[in-house]
């Protein structure tokens, strides 16, 4: 005798992933067809085991070295912004020194996989720090500009406006109202 079958690929995929991930005892969420988030960072060992169990089903983990290097660039930028002494260096020489690749290479790789440039990312990060300080402290804008190594308040305000489309004071007003509404 013969039987005929049909697949709902979405269900098949999720069922396979769930079975394997549960078997290995991970705490995870299947975000969408291409992404799984893990509550805890996987060790290299765990990644290898997972990669092997999934490969039986023709599922490959995309984790190339480029992605990892991009992450290292981001980590190094964060490190640099948090360190007052490192802040005196130029970002290009700092990254090249720390990561041992030419800045041109790093810069190309970064733009290729993040849709933004290293320079823009640094600005975004600094503005993010400024936002934190505006939202959670009583520091004045002058103090924040000084702390984040901006040459002047005008420079900080300009970059803030360019990055968020809002002035620092409008931003502050919105965040304050949000807190009142408890969102």
């Amino acid at each position: 005798m013969k039987i005929y079958v049909t697949f709902n690929l979405n269900i098949t995929r999720n069922a396979i992933l769930k079975e394997q991930l549960d078997r290995l005892g991970f705490d995870y969420t299947i975000e969408n067809t291409q992404e799984i988030s893990f509550k805890n960072k996987l060790t290299t060992e765990q990644q290898l085991v997972l990669a092997e169990s999934l490969s039986t089903y023709g599922i490959t983990i995309i984790d190339d070295q480029k992605t990892e290097l991009v992450q290292r660039i981001k980590d190094t930028i964060n490190e640099m912004l948090a360190d007052e002494e490192a802040n005196l260096y130029k970002i290009s020489s700092y990254l090249a020194d720390k990561l041992n690749y030419s800045y041109a290479y790093l810069s190309n790789l970064f733009s290729e996989s993040t849709y933004t440039s290293i320079e823009n990312f640094v600005i975004l990060k600094k503005v993010d720090q400024a936002k934190e300080l505006i939202a959670n402290t009583d520091l004045t804008l002058t103090e924040i500009a000084y702390r984040l190594n901006y040459s002047s308040v005008a420079h900080l305000s300009g970059q803030f406006k360019k990055t968020t489309g809002l002035t620092p004071s409008t931003f502050q007003k919105i965040i304050k109202k949000r807190k009142e509404f408890n969102i």
Binding site: K74, S113, E132, G165, L166
Partner: protein, 147 residues
């Protein structure tokens, strides 16, 4: 080139606007997967049903059955949906409207541009920025952007 695909939803009752948005999106370098909805009610029904979490939702403000503001409020008060970035996509440029959407939890406010090149440019900027918030350790509570 990144392999990731951004899942994007748009709710807009104007057919031309939906078409233009889709056209602009397909011209961009960032790879996206777009789902369209004719009003807020359709969108919310989809959000409750679906298992995939979108990376970004674009909401028109004036829509029949359920408007953008109602959707925003529902999204922000739902445990499952509240972390999704929301972009308001509207013709209103009243400061009060804009501030109000931000206070109610919108992350992005886009004034519908009057020409196609500007529209493409605006969507591109928004997606790039959203991507940074999605992939880097930036504080999502402070994610506000107006264009």
């Amino acid at each position: 080139m990144s392999l990731k695909i951004l899942n994007i939803l748009l709710a807009d009752d104007d057919e031309d606007d939906r078409w233009l948005f889709q056209k602009a999106l397909s011209d961009l370098k960032i790879k996206t997967n777009l789902s369209l909805f004719k009003n807020g009610k359709e969108l919310m029904e989809h959000l409750i049903r679906t298992e995939t979490t979108p990376h970004l939702i674009f909401l028109d403000l004036n829509m029949p059955l359920k408007n953008g503001m109602e959707c925003l409020t529902e999204i922000r008060s739902s445990c499952n949906l509240k972390a999704i970035p929301v972009a308001i996509y509207s013709t209103s440029s009243s400061e009060k409207d804009i501030e109000n959407t931000f206070v109610n939890g919108a992350n992005i406010y886009i004034n519908k541009p009057s020409n196609f090149a500007d529209l493409k440019n605006a969507i591109d900027k928004v997606l790039q920025l959203n991507w940074q918030y999605h992939t880097s350790n930036l504080n999502k509570d402070n994610f506000l952007f107006r264009i």
